[in-house]
């Protein structure tokens, strides 16, 4: 599936993004060309303000590009309606945010169930899947806790469980360990890289830290809204013969 000659899962051509208008306009992305194949584990790096999050949000269909084309699985995302993009997010994409973005005053279980609610699954199946996902991230005993009753690492794991429960093909993680200490960071990274290894989930992650980027097989550096470098580690070829 990771045959480099096959058409890539994600293909960006000349993607630009401008914030604001007129004099205040700011070009956050200045023409991004990028191919990512199914099963890859990519780290996006770069200085603060370089446009990493902007790029991730466009990749995750949370935001729309100003120019260029974005093909996901040979679908032109720019030509989709708002609702079609919602359905793409629902059925194919998962997102993990730096700031978790869990629903407050809502139990871990209900938070993880949320994406399944929109798939019209029965109550029993929702519960089973959500509980299993929380179990998988090591929170089997915290199903009833609300975010306020969980540590930062536990909250991030709830967010990961929420992203995983709908079995996405592609998982986007914007600084998933940005708020966590080093021990927790390692736990989370082990979890993510296992998902990539064992379930073949395509993983795209933004990070500042070289340690964290070291878990990925491919590192893309962004500078002032342009790709500055794109390097693969040898493991990539090893992991995907």
């Amino acid at each position: 599936m990771s045959d480099r000659n096959a058409s890539p899962l994600i293909r960006l051509r000349g993607i630009t993004k401008t914030y604001g208008r007129g004099d205040a306009a700011f070009q956050a992305l200045r023409g991004i060309d990028l191919d990512i194949h199914a099963g890859e584990f990519v780290a996006i790096m770069g200085p603060s303000g370089s446009g990493k999050s902007t790029l991730m949000n466009i990749l995750g269909c949370l935001d729309t590009a100003a120019g260029g084309t974005y093909h996901y699985d040979d679908i032109e995302v720019g030509s989709l309606t708002v609702d079609q993009r919602a359905l793409l997010r629902r059925y194919a994409l998962g997102f993990i945010f730096q700031s978790f973005n869990l629903l407050a005053r809502t139990s871990a279980l209900e938070n993880v169930e949320l994406p399944l609610l929109y798939r019209g699954l029965s109550r029993r199946i929702r519960h089973e899947k959500a509980a299993a996902a929380l179990e998988a991230v090591g929170l089997g005993d915290k199903l009833r806790n609300t975010p306020a009753e969980l540590s930062g690492g536990q909250q991030q794991r709830v967010a990961i469980a929420r992203a995983l429960v709908s079995e996405p093909r592609t998982l986007f993680a914007d600084e998933p360990t940005g708020n966590l200490d080093s021990a927790t960071t390692i736990e989370i990274m082990e979890l993510l890289s296992r998902l990539n290894r064992e379930q073949g989930i395509t993983l795209i992650m933004v990070t500042h830290e070289d340690d964290v980027a070291g878990w990925a097989h491919r590192r893309i550096h962004i500078h002032d809204g342009r790709i500055a470098s794109d390097e693969r580690s040898l493991q990539t070829t090893a992991a995907h013969p």
Partner: protein
Amino acid sequence: MIWNAFLIAVREIRRNLTRAFLTVLGIIIGVAAVITMVTLGQATTRAVSDQISKLGSNLLILRPGAGFGPRGVPGGSPNFTMEDAELIAEQVAGVAATAPVRMASLTTAYLDEARTTAVTGTTPAYFQIHQWTLADGRFFNEADLRRGAAVCVIGNTVRNELFGEKDPIGQRLRIGSTVCEVIGLLASKGQAGMGDQDDTIIVPITTLQRRLVGRTSDHDINMISISAEDGVDTEVLTTDITAFMRERRHLQPGEDNDFHVFDTRQITEALTSSTRMMTMLLAAVAGVSLLVGGIGIMNIMLVSVTERTREIGIRLALGATAGEVLMQFLVEAITLACVGGLIGMLCALALCVALSGLIGVPFVFNPMINAAAFCFSAVVGVVFGFVPARSAARLDPINALRHE
């Protein structure tokens, strides 16, 4: 999908009970206030017009004096005569009957119970004109009138005060210094805006003139009750009676009337329209309170939508469509508004029953105002719950998530 939205909505309501309670409270107060005020206002209007109609229909009352204001001042307008009453009945077209009335306030006593009562001396036509009916016994008749018989018909209050539970018919009641036989008991008319109508004793006018108070002049009639024939315009009749009486009293053109004609229908209309105005005023006040309630709801909803834009962003990011998010908010708003409206209606019902008992008006359930208030609350809840959510659901997910 609607069921799904309903489930999500109920979850969100349960999660934010305080917010839900505040929203609902605004609706409850508004709905309850409007329904209560309008219902009570209408009950009062009805009570007033009911009681006035008991005074008699097509009833005109002729009194000496220029109208409202001090009556019977010394050297004031002269009273009427018995002949005035007879001639009005005979000569003015459209008059069905007349009854001369002479009033006297006299001490009445039965055994050792005594009290002062307004005694009315009149003719048998009076009962019909004033629409009195009997609870027991009989009215006095023309024969009693001719003889000046010592008989009387008493009202329910007099019966209660003097006879208690005892059957008053055939009992001997002392009025002034004369003993009269009670021959009839009037059916109660209750309190009508103008005092207790049941606190009365009615005797033949001849009895009053000859036995009870004596007679010093022909002009001893305080009032003439006149009933109009059916279908006669009482305004025209008032004019005719006025012209007739001016002639009988030899008033020169340009001279003011020294008597006046009350048209009870006009009084009814005036009172009914003023209570109706009161109702409208109350309704307006209540409407304002409903509006204030609505603004309260809008406020809470707006604040909560700001607060909930992130929630909307999360839902959108997880793959909800804008339509699904909106459906959730719509169902939430409708649920809250309906619950509030229903509780408000129940509160209003309880308040109306309690208050109408307290101020002594009949309680009449008004489905119109209940429906109107309920619909208004639903619309307010839905509009204010829905409109702010709509703008949030239109955002790109990332913008909703970034919302502070």
